[in-house]
Symmetry: C2
Subunit: 415 residues, 2 copies
């Protein structure tokens, strides 16, 4: 057995106990984690200071350092997040259906944990706490493998959580951290069949691609978003400008931000000049097809083919003038990532067509793509936004971290 297999076996054994823990036991463990995080602030900050010093020494970007940084406020936010997860309804044990069979057996379908969940992520120590709390609430043990730049912070956070879980009477191995942050350890985790029921990558496109290409365990892809807003010829243009401004500029670095604007040629000449000052406030760079360029002139630059497929995560917007809803939907089918897509229109028939025909996790009429979020959709905290269609689609809360089993009550039936 390799070191990781030994860890996998220990986590799997812990999961057998956790899977049958009741709601109170799991909530007690979560509240113990909350208390321990607050009590051990100084220890967490000390470890994080060492990570930050190394990051500075290695000249890592300021955005990267910002994600790595912990302070009093952020630790308090972690602790509040854990308490919020404790307050969620327990998804486990729900009987989804139950019926008597033709031969007199009672056949029920019951919600159960997935089992052992692996999470691979980058240098965001908040994921260590968020992911562990969501897994614990849903009866899943987890194996965490964070980025090497955060290893000191993660080690202390995992240690604190494991102690708290044990103090609440559940096995410490319900939450395990992989201390080896080499590429090899990530690869081995992707192939840990027999121990891992699912692997969830959280991070940039490079990480997700690597997991999808290399994993032999089941994977849920998360977080890639090339989102569009289509402004129809029947749009309320003032509403459309509000929505585009919000979808692009309110938080461009997240996956539900808009990347490409599609405008009907019937309103482009009126709408684009109306929109321009809204985007100029944020110095948004506009990359336009030929028709949009003619309207916007010096305020824009030409788009290349690559722009239509790019998730900028930045103050950059691709703009294309289309002949109408059909060309807009064809463009989305070709370039969209299946995350969030919106139409702005006052036309009933076109609103229905867009909702029905566009294939994405979330399809909007007259609202910003920025709403695609576990909190906004009423799921409570989320572990990520699935952009695949298998198992879960869109924001994933604790319910999306469950499976089911059939329970059959017989009285001697044979077939």
């Amino acid at each position: 057995m390799t070191e990781l297999e030994t860890l996998g076996a220990a986590v799997k054994a812990a999961e057998r106990k956790l899977s049958i823990a009741n709601t109170k036991q799991k909530n007690d463990a979560l509240l113990a984690i909350r208390a321990a995080l607050l009590e051990n602030k100084a220890r967490i900050l000390e470890a994080n200071a060492a990570d930050m010093a190394a990051a500075k020494e290695n000249g890592l970007k300021s955005a990267f350092q910002d994600r790595l940084l912990l302070n009093d406020k952020r630790i308090e936010d972690f602790a509040k997040g854990v308490a919020d997860v404790a307050a969620l309804p327990d998804p486990i044990g729900e009987v989804i259906s139950m019926n008597d069979s033709a031969t007199g057996m009672t056949i029920g379908k019951k919600r159960v944990p997935l089992g052992v969940i692996g999470i691979i992520y980058e240098a965001r120590p908040n994921v260590t706490v968020d992911a562990a709390a969501l897994c614990l609430k849903s009866g899943n043990a987890c194996i965490l493998r964070g980025g090497k730049e955060a290893i000191r912070s993660n080690t202390v956070l995992a240690d604190i959580m494991r102690g708290a879980i044990e103090s609440a009477g559940l096995p410490a191995d319900c939450v395990a951290l992989i201390h080896d942050t080499s590429r090899e350890s990530a690869k081995e985790l992707m192939g840990l069949r027999g121990y891992l029921d699912v692997l969830i990558p959280r991070g940039g496109a490079g990480l997700i691609d690597s997991v999808v290409q290399n994993a032999s365990v089941p994977v849920i892809e998360t977080g890639r978003g090339n989102c569009h807003v289509y402004v129809d010829d029947d749009a309320d243009l003032e509403m459309a400008a509000n929505i585009v401004e919000n979808a692009k500029c309110s938080r461009p670095s997240v996956c539900n931000a808009m990347e490409t604007l599609l405008v009907s040629e019937k309103v482009a000449a009126k709408f684009l000049p109306l929109l321009l000052p809204r985007l100029q406030k944020y110095s948004v760079e506009l990359r336009c097809d030929e028709k949009a360029l003619k309207i916007l002139g010096d305020a824009a630059i030409p788009a290349t083919e690559a722009d239509w497929g790019t998730e900028y995560d930045d103050y950059i917007l691709a703009v294309k003038v289309v002949s109408g809803i059909d060309e807009a939907m064809d463009h989305i089918a070709c370039y969209g990532s299946g995350h969030s897509e919106a139409i702005v229109t006052t036309d009933y028939a076109k609103s229905q067509r867009f909702l029905r025909e566009v294939d994405a996790a979330a399809v909007y009429v007259n609202a910003s793509t920025r709403f695609t979020d576990g909190g906004e959709f009423g799921l409570g905290a989320e572990i990520g936004i699935s952009t695949q269609k298998l198992h879960a689609r869109g924001p994933m809360g604790v319910r999306e971290l469950t499976s089911c089993k059939y329970v059959i009550y017989g009285s001697g039936q044979i077939r």
Copy 2:
């Protein structure tokens, strides 16, 4: 673009149309397939005769030849199966939930097709028709890749189905067959990202392992079954003997057949001699641990460690005497494949523990494992039995071939 990518793009385009087809359109296509299969019996039998001749020439086993063989009766069964699928309720379009959000949007969650489903299977021409019908009903296009020994039969079956689909006004490419049956074509299908939403292998352990190890598209594992029956010290022994006989002998080649018998030491000396003649009728080979061997003597042979993990699919049974329910559940947790597990007991508390603590797709009290089946569980036809926990667990019917999307009705909301 490779040849397979070209095919993938054509199927994806067909799926955009199929995904928005209504129930009547899909049922019309299914009924057209049913009629075309019956009208073209002679053509199907001719192609199958060529497959059978080649199989005989290549000296393939008689069980293999039996699975490959078509005759009038089997083609009529196919046609009836397609009509049965047409009669199932349409899973697509169901609104699973719909609520008003805090900001006044209406957020609904709606059942939609998965998209394009790949099926890799061996030389069973029935899968070609079954899989295509289930995919069509659930609004999914499919790419079929069957074993090379059945390629002549499959080519004719696919051709007939494609013609029928087109005659009903849907695109022929809703069903596509890969004609290249080389290993390379299978590997390429496993990596067809961007065109395939899920790949389902149907066949033996070798095929499933190869898909799981090599695929970069999402996979649903099906069909491996190392199932146990545990006879508790509080069992009705007559009932237990009936269940064990049925679970082992009624159809040993299928995945829900029992492979290992676990008996409590408190009843082993009484139960095993009672069971023995039941199994001897079928010449079942008994591979026993030391304690069971002492009881059964010459009627059995010693088991090795490998026996506990083996899916025999044959008239062979591994037998182990255990100290009670805890050791039985530990054994199942260690060696089980997560398919179907049963306890025979009259004790209420132990029945509840077994149902709660055993982690498998189907867990039984006082009934045979042989009931794990889409028809028995009320799903109608099944495309396979999932032994993984992600997306679907246990028998998969048309509903398990669906995903969902969020549809959001706004009135200008921004975040």
